[in-house]
């Protein structure tokens, strides 16, 4: 996970572009633009009016990312206290594809919504939204989750202890845990940790090679486009204005690098979709790190205030000491 690996060179991206654009209906302009602006975070736009829930993206994600999936060995070590720490084992249910699991980083929520006298069937590919100021990456106490400069939020499966704090602090509770894998087995498997957390990593390795994420490349309906965030937002607003559509992800949690466009309001979609573990909602989300952002000012000012107070106090102390000496 070095800068070099994280960065997307123009050459690599364009090299991949040549291969990928021949194979599919590629949003070439965005990708080419991304290659030219590698200093800007990459963002995806999902046009929900196009998604037909064919599941090609789900299959492609599973196929391409299969080498990254957990391979736990049973039996799992006993974890204490047993009444509180539960095994989360998906290894015997790897085929589950109607929710997020450690083996299924993308699934499609399908729902029907009445809006302006019409019934809309809306299909929503769901995965990590790759927040711009991701609480999972900010609050992981172990440095296992991090955001790359290209906007991809990743969990390092070599380091993650599976404490699931990232899932707790994520507004959509996206990361999913698999017990029986990872570093915790070599530390204190009975007393700390519980596996590794897994989620979409936006095919970071494919992007490093100049390729598109598997879900984008496989989509026959061209639902997703990827590019620099400013361009993606520009396109999203153009389409939203032109069609009277709605945007989700621009402001949610301080802004995400996944932007959804929908012909029906997200309030209605949020009410209609099935929610629960591994099934995120679409409610408005305040910036989770907004308070920390404000408190950072206090942290920034405090040392200077301390220096000033110290100088004043030391001055007074020295003056009084000198006064005492004079009196002697």
């Amino acid at each position: 996970m070095t800068d070099k690996k994280n960065g997307i060179s123009r050459r690599n991206f364009l090299k991949g572009l040549g291969v990928a654009s021949g194979a599919m209906l590629l949003p070439a302009r965005e990708v080419a633009a991304a290659a030219g602006k590698s200093d800007e975070e990459l963002c995806t736009l999902l046009d929900l009016s196009k998604c037909i829930a064919c599941g090609e993206c789900v299959s492609a994600c599973r196929e391409v990312n299969e080498p990254k999936f957990p391979k736990p060995k049973k039996p799992y070590p006993e974890m204490y206290p047993t009444s509180r720490v539960k095994v989360e084992d998906w290894s015997d249910r790897q085929e589950v594809d109607d929710r997020l699991t450690p083996y299924n980083w993308l699934y499609i929520q399908s729902t029907e919504v009445e809006y302006q006298g019409e019934t809309h069937e809306v299909n929503i590919p769901r995965r990590c939204l790759h927040c711009r100021n991701a609480p999972c990456a900010n609050l992981c106490p172990w440095g296992a989750a991090g955001k790359q400069k290209n906007g991809i939020v990743r969990i390092n499966d070599d380091v993650c202890l599976g404490g699931a704090k990232c899932r707790t602090v994520c507004p959509w509770h996206i990361p999913q845990r698999q017990t029986g894998v990872g570093l915790y087995l070599r530390l204190m498997p009975n007393l700390a940790g519980n596996g590794v957390m897994y989620k979409c990593d936006r095919c970071y390795n494919r992007i490093d090679e100049g390729k598109l994420p598997a879900c984008i490349e496989a989509c026959p309906e061209n639902v997703q486009t990827i590019g620099p965030r400013s361009e993606i937002l520009k396109k999203a607003h153009e389409l939203a204005e032109k069609n009277n559509w709605f945007i989700y992800g621009e402001e949610e949690n301080g802004g995400t690098n996944t932007v959804y466009l929908s012909p029906v309001p997200f309030e209605l979609l949020n009410k209609a979709v099935e929610k629960g573990p591994g099934k995120p909602g679409l409610s408005p989300v305040e910036d989770s790190m907004a308070d920390e952002e404000k408190l950072a000012y206090a942290v920034g000012i405090a040392p200077f205030a301390g220096i000033a107070a110290g100088v004043i106090k030391a001055g007074k102390f020295l003056a009084s000491a000198a006064g005492g000496k004079d009196n002697d």
Partner: protein
């Protein structure tokens, strides 16, 4: 060099920093500590993080105040004990890496994941070392930070 009130406030600040720092790891819920009436807030990662920030600011104020006081006025009369020097260095390391954590959490800042991991591990590591050093000093007869320098004025 400081008043008893200052010393008491410093100790409380350290205690709260240690408690809310430990609460950043998902252990208080796992070990039922957050189930104890009145301690449920220890399982709220956002709340404990904000408290950690607030008292982090207080600690930085106090630490810099003490450091400047010592450099400008105290050095003439006192010197740091070896145990005190060790703890001061560890405080510096914990505060420094903590400040880096605050910076990396800013919306406008993105460190690469390896740097983030390094910051998190060193912050945790130095905090644990400081805890060990403080416990050692406490149980070996409350070793003071400062001792009167031989031949120094008082």
């Amino acid at each position: 060099m400081t008043s008893p009130l200052f010393a008491r406030l410093f100790k409380w600040t350290i205690f709260i920093m240690a408690l809310t720092g430990a609460a950043q790891m998902p252990i208080f819920k796992r070990y039922y500590i957050a189930d104890i009436p009145g301690l449920g807030w220890l399982a709220d990662f956002y709340l404990t993080n904000k408290i950690h920030y607030i008292f982090g600011a207080v600690l930085m104020f106090m630490a810099l105040y003490l450091l400047i006081m010592f450099i400008l006025a105290g050095k003439k009369y006192f010197r740091l004990s070896s145990s005190g020097l060790l703890r001061v260095v560890l405080y510096g390391a914990v505060i420094g890496t903590g400040a880096l954590r605050v910076i990396k959490n800013l919306h406008s800042v993105t460190f690469d994941p390896f740097t983030v991991m390094l910051i998190d591990w060193t912050h945790l590591g130095f905090a644990m070392l400081l805890g060990v050093a403080a416990m050692y000093a406490f149980f070996r007869g409350r070793k003071p930070y400062l001792e009167k320098g031989v031949g120094m004025r008082l």
